[in-house]
């Protein structure tokens, strides 16, 4: 991990994984409860959108509608899994349970607590993505051997959404506050980030916004490439460049949000 530095970067050691381990233990206690919704939800979406809507929309970019939305579902799962873990989940641990205060009284520092939470959010996203991928596979919708690469992508995409959620957690005066980012950011992303509706059908300004500031667009593009081997060509860019752009964009934004989340939480917790 990133080691201590004078530059103001977070001081992180392997203690990060000790914090992660705490959340993992809680998760394992109730894994069956966590498992079921992740399994049922994608099945419902595939049935309703794929088979229902799919009878009207027969083909997009040369593949069936159900196959077109399957990678979108994986991307959405990553976003929801990580974002809600590091908003509602982290807020409960921080505010109601005072778990962070308890850990900071041990040799683990506040930066490590937050980094551990973020890695845990990414882990949840990966876990949920794996279940959705299994469902998608069971529906016979995977057509690229690269689909396994989707697991590390889920982790890094998850880290991005975890860090985004944690920034809101650092600013949240109470738990109801999360309604704002959910309805103003997460739900719009759910709808316009090339998940259920091809981005190319939107006005060009909206396309630009989706590519410039909405992380889900990039996760969905990567997912579609890895799961069904299909890359959209946007704004005249070649498929390879769309993917490079997505990966670079995610790497930069994840790094920035990761450091920002730790900074904001430190400011909130250390008095």
């Amino acid at each position: 991990m990133i080691r201590s530095s004078a530059s103001g970067l977070p001081k992180l050691t392997r203690h990060v994984w000790t914090v992660w381990h705490r959340n993992f233990d809680v998760f394992m206690k109730t894994w069956h409860v966590n498992f079921l919704p992740s399994l049922i939800e994608p099945i419902l979406y595939l049935l309703a959108f794929g088979f229902g809507l799919g009878t009207f929309v027969t083909e997009i970019e040369g593949i069936s509608y159900i196959q077109w939305i399957a990678p979108g579902l994986v991307a959405i799962t990553i976003m929801y899994g990580a974002f809600f873990e590091c908003t509602y989940g982290s807020f409960v641990r921080m505010y109601f349970q005072k778990t962070f205060d308890a850990i900071i009284a041990t040799p683990i520092n506040v930066e490590e607590v937050i980094a551990g939470e973020l890695l845990w959010g990414a882990t949840r996203a990966t876990f949920n993505a794996a279940i959705v991928l299994a469902v998608v596979a069971a529906f016979g919708l995977i057509s690229s051997p690269l689909f396994l690469v989707m697991l590390p992508v889920a982790f890094f995409g998850g880290l991005l959404f975890a860090a985004l959620g944690m920034c809101f957690t650092a600013l949240a005066p109470n738990i109801d506050f999360f309604n704002y980012p959910t309805f103003l950011l997460i739900t719009p992303m759910f709808l316009i980030s090339n998940t259920f509706i091809p981005l190319a059908t939107f006005p060009s300004q909206l396309q630009t916004i989706a590519l410039a500031v909405l992380p889900l667009t990039h996760v969905a593009d990567l997912s579609r490439m890895l799961v069904v081997g299909k890359v959209e060509t946007l704004g005249g860019l070649s498929p390879e460049w769309v993917l490079v752009l997505a990966a670079v964009w995610m790497a930069i934004v994840t790094a920035v949000l990761f450091i920002l989340a730790i900074y904001l939480m430190k400011r909130r917790l250390i008095k």
């Binding site: 000790t18 206690k29 005072k98 778990t99 205060d101 040799p107």
Partner: protein, 306 residues
Amino acid sequence: MASQVLIKARNLTKRYNHFTAVDHINFEVHKGECVGFLGPNGAGKTTTVRMIYCFSPVTEGELTVAGMNVSTHSREIKKMVGVAPQEDNLDPDFTVIKNLQVYARYFDIPKAEATKRAMELLKFFQLEEKQASAIDELSTGMKRRLIIARALINQPQILLVDEPTTGLDPQGRHIVWDEIRSLLKQGVTVILTTHYMDEAAALCDRVLIIDNGKIIESGEPQELVKKHAGEDVLEVSYDETVLKALKEELPEAHIEIFGDQIRVFINQPHGVFERIVKKFPGVNMTIRNANLEDVFLKLTGRKLRE
């Protein structure tokens, strides 16, 4: 034999924005001592304790634990300190024993050793039967004891207990007191905060009386009582004429009026107050032993417990 100084504060100050919660305090804690921070709510006790375990950054002044500066050696210091915070922050997602095991992991204690220590602590704190219980099944007293047990999982040299018995019934308080006493016998250095006089008197070798972020007096409990409140205190219901008469009878006495009560302190051996009581046969007067609360009242003109 000079005893070893474990904690040393020089002009230690903590400000929250512009509010000064701890104001240039100086103190030392020696190895094996039980030192009490005694003061009303808002005095700055918790803030001081939080600086000792490197939770709150020091605004000004110097604070060292075992010779290490809190702002540069937080990890090393936190390894040797056990913290039982004022508020309940036990982990409600885990059972009683799992709370101790997970906490041990934060200190890198191997699993087998952690379980061994957890079992010993549960036994010592009479929580063995509750080891598989959920946290919200515990009574307030049991939670307090589990928090102290958790603070001992890393076998700390210094134990910080912030208001260990606030909200407990008398029986619960005595159990906690007994346990703190036996920890002291084992050589653990204890810092305890409290707003209960009897608690400070029962447990502490030395108390620091804190008010508005300042240490206004310090010393052994009995010495402080003797020095400031004498042997006995006379209590009388407030009455203009009685007050005047008392001032005439005892010009050297220190008289405090609190609410509807007059309290008279005097630095003279027993017997003086008995003479006064006989002199005012119609007036209801009580003589009782002086205590730490009287010291606080005399020093600040205010009652401590509010």
